[in-house]
Each structure stands twice: as structure tokens, then as C-alpha cells.
């Protein structure tokens, strides 16, 4: 239990997807302009990563890992070269399902997402979650915790950035830095802030 809590905190703060690993920066920067969309994106990230990482773990261990087909008399079959395609397929299906559910039951949130929800299909942080899961050979429970933790870290970072950007209403920025420019600078400073956690839980 303690290990799982440690894994969750590690995924949330130490290996924060946008701020430490610089993954998923496109949606991170684009959707942090307003707090409402940032919260929506954060919740979607928690949902999608919390579902896709364990699902991909099942797919990987049951179908793709070397020796997964041993029960069918094919112990030498290694389908792991298909993992990228399979993972993206699972992610796309999950996002599509999420979109349909949102459209049916929460039309307001669905409208707030607009075009960005389908874009989560090709979000690199989500795919990276599944790839890390394979690389570190997580079990099913561990992948669920890791997915939820990574999603939570992304949500925390993007909501924090949205709140900071709201304060920029009072700033008088040089023309060249307005918009994305200052957001990159602020992202760098947030990464400095999160770097402290990385040193804290040294392996």
C-alpha cells in the first residue's frame, strides 16, 4: 500500500508529465488560457490516463509481450513490435467512448472541450504513460495507480498554469512575449519549482 502511495506521488510530482518530462506540452500550453478549460482538460487527462494505462497493461501482458501466446503453443512469438499501434488504438477508442459519454450525459463539458477532446488521442503524455508502463514492467494495480498519478500531475500543473496566466491580465508585457512567449517562460519557472520534488525522492 505504501509503495503504491509512493508511486502515485512520484508520478504526480517527481515525474510530472509536462513540467519534468516535457510531454504533452501542446495541450498544456493551448488549454491553459482559461481556468475552466484547464480544469476540463485536467479531469479528462485523469480519466483517460487512469483507463488507458491499465487497459494497455492488459493488452500488453495478454497479447503482445514475448511468450504471451505460450498457451497456444507459440512460446517464441513476440508481438511487442505491435505495441505502439495497439496502444494508440486503445487510446483512440477510450477517447471516443469518453466523448460519446460526455456528449450524452454532460453536454456542457463536451461543448467546452470542443475540438480538443479528439486531440487527446494523439496526446504524447497519454501514450508516454503506456510506454513507461511497458518499460518499467508495472503490474495491473501499479499501472492503474501510475496512470491516475500522471493524470493528476498533469491536471495540477495545467490548472496552476491557468491560474497564473489569469494574473497576467495585470501585466504589461512586451509585444513579442505576449501569449505563448510568456507562457513558455512561466512553464520554465514552474519546472524549476517542480524540480525540487525530483531531488527530494532520490532513488
Amino acid at each position: 500500500m505504501n509503495d503504491l502511495a509512493g508511486l502515485f506521488l512520484r508520478a504526480t510530482f517527481v515525474e510530472n508529465m509536462p513540467l519534468t518530462l516535457f510531454l504533452g506540452l501542446c495541450t498544456f500550453l493551448a488549454l491553459s488560457r482559461r481556468t475552466e478549460t484547464a480544469i476540463g482538460l485536467g479531469v479528462a487527462m485523469i480519466g483517460v490516463m487512469g483507463v488507458t494505462v491499465p487497459l494497455n497493461q492488459i493488452v500488453h501482458s495478454a497479447l503482445l509481450a514475448p511468450g504471451a501466446w505460450a498457451w497456444a503453443g507459440l512460446p517464441d512469438l513476440d508481438l511487442s513490435y505491435l505495441s505502439l499501434v495497439a496502444f494508440i488504438g486503445v487510446i483512440a477508442a477510450t477517447v471516443q467512448l469518453l466523448e460519446m459519454l460526455l456528449e450524452r450525459f454532460f453536454p456542457a463539458i463536451h461543448a467546452a472541450f470542443g475540438v480538443f477532446l479528439p486531440l487527446l488521442t494523439v496526446q504524447c503524455a497519454i501514450l508516454a504513460g503506456s510506454l513507461f508502463m511497458v518499460e518499467r514492467s508495472y503490474t495491473l494495480t501499479q499501472s492503474a495507480v501510475f496512470g491516475l498519478g500522471s493524470g493528476t500531475g498533469f491536471a495540477l500543473a495545467v490548472i496552476m498554469l491557468a491560474a497564473v496566466r489569469r494574473r497576467l491580465a495585470y501585466a504589461d508585457l512586451p509585444a513579442g512575449l505576449r501569449g505563448l512567449g510568456i507562457t513558455f517562460v512561466l512553464t520554465g519557472m514552474m519546472a524549476l519549482g517542480f524540480a525540487a520534488f525530483a531531488q527530494m525522492v532520490a532513488p
Partner: protein, 258 residues
Amino acid sequence: MIRGIWDRETVALMLLAAFMPVALVWLWFGGAEAFLRLVLALIVSGLWHLIFMLARAQPPSFAGAVTALAVAILAPEELGLLRLILGISFGSVMAELVFGGWGRNVLNPATVTLAFLGFGFPAAPWPEPAIPVIWAAIPAALIGVLAGVMPGRVILGAALAPAAALALGADPAEALPAAALVLVLLVCDPVASAATRPGRWLNGILYGGLVVLFALHWEGAAPVQIAVSAALFASLAAPLLDESTIAIWLLRRRRRHG
């Protein structure tokens, strides 16, 4: 913040006056070396204020001196001239001046400078502030709070977390003196800390909590480094704390008045 004489420069001057006890005691114990560091920091910070005045017509502010003082007291030692100049330039330009000057910035420039120096040059040893300097932080905080330029709730909130940790049996005592100094010099910046009342409490509690967390789990870190890291994260989270407070207020009002 313009109410009669309460313009931006009054607040900056009050803040500078509040820092005087710390500055004088630190100069007394630091001697000529400390004085030279302070002069260097003042010159670099002042030059950038001058450049931004000429280039963007931003009026220079005494806040530059506040930044220079905090950096001179807390910056890592044995950095060498060039790195210190680089750090102060990065902090005061990217964290303050490009936002339109003091009062429009999001983060405290001294905090960013120190985090930048600590992250960029990890081999440089962090200073260990003399105990009298830390005692001088108490009158500094009192002057600041009584003059209304430092948020007292942040200070009280920051005291709560270590008190709770001590009550629970944890021992973050080693980091606490430096954390108190950083609390006064960096976290209680009226611009970079939270602005709503509950937000200020939470801001202080978050800072204190992070100091305790880092003190217990971050091996081999200097107390000042722990406090600066906690200060940076606390001020990054300050806008979010304000936003959440305002969202809760709006929700309650809507529920009450329909």
C-alpha cells in the same frame, strides 16, 4: 494600489524599511564581503531597471533594491561574479521587468533568481545565515505587518505547519531558522503571495508544509535551499489558491442569492 500616498513606491519603500533590521544585522556580521555582494546586486538590478526605463518607459522602482537585498543575503556562495550577475539578471528581467515592473509580476524576482542559481549551479554551497540575522527577521516581520505591506496571515499560516509537525513528533527543526528568514524576505512579498484572506492562510500553510516535507525527505539539502524551493512552489500555487477561494465565494453567493 493607489490610495492617496499609498502608491507602488510607498509600498516598496515600506518593504525596504521593514527589511532594514535584517539588512543591518547581516551587514554587521557579514562585513566587507557582504557589503560588496549587496553593492553588486544593487548595481545589476539597478542597471536592468534603467534599461527598462529607457526601452519601455517603465518607471524604476525601489523594489529593485528589495530584490537585490534578498538575493545578496540568500544567494549561494563562491559563485563568482559572472554567475551572480547572470542569476540576478535572469530573475529581475524574466520574473519582474518583462511583466511591466514590480506590482504586475507573478513571482518574486528574488525567489526566481535564487531557484535559478541553485538549480543551475548545484555545486555552489548555500549560505548559513547567522543566528542574529534570523532573530532580526522577527522585527522585520513586525514592521512589515504593522505597516500593512506584509500579509500577516501568510506568516501565521506558515507557522502552523511546522508546529503541527513538531506536535506529531517529526523533527524539521534544522530547516526552521532559514525558513523563517526566507518567509520574511521572499514569501511575504505583497505581490507574489496570495491576495484573498483564505488564500493567504493556505499560502502560508503550503509554504510551511513544503518546508517540513523537504526537511524530512530531502537528504543533503541546505536549509536555505529547502526554504527557497518551498517559497518558489508556494508562490507558483498562490494564484491557484486565490482562484479557488474566489470560485468558492462565487458558488456560495450564487447559492444564497440565487
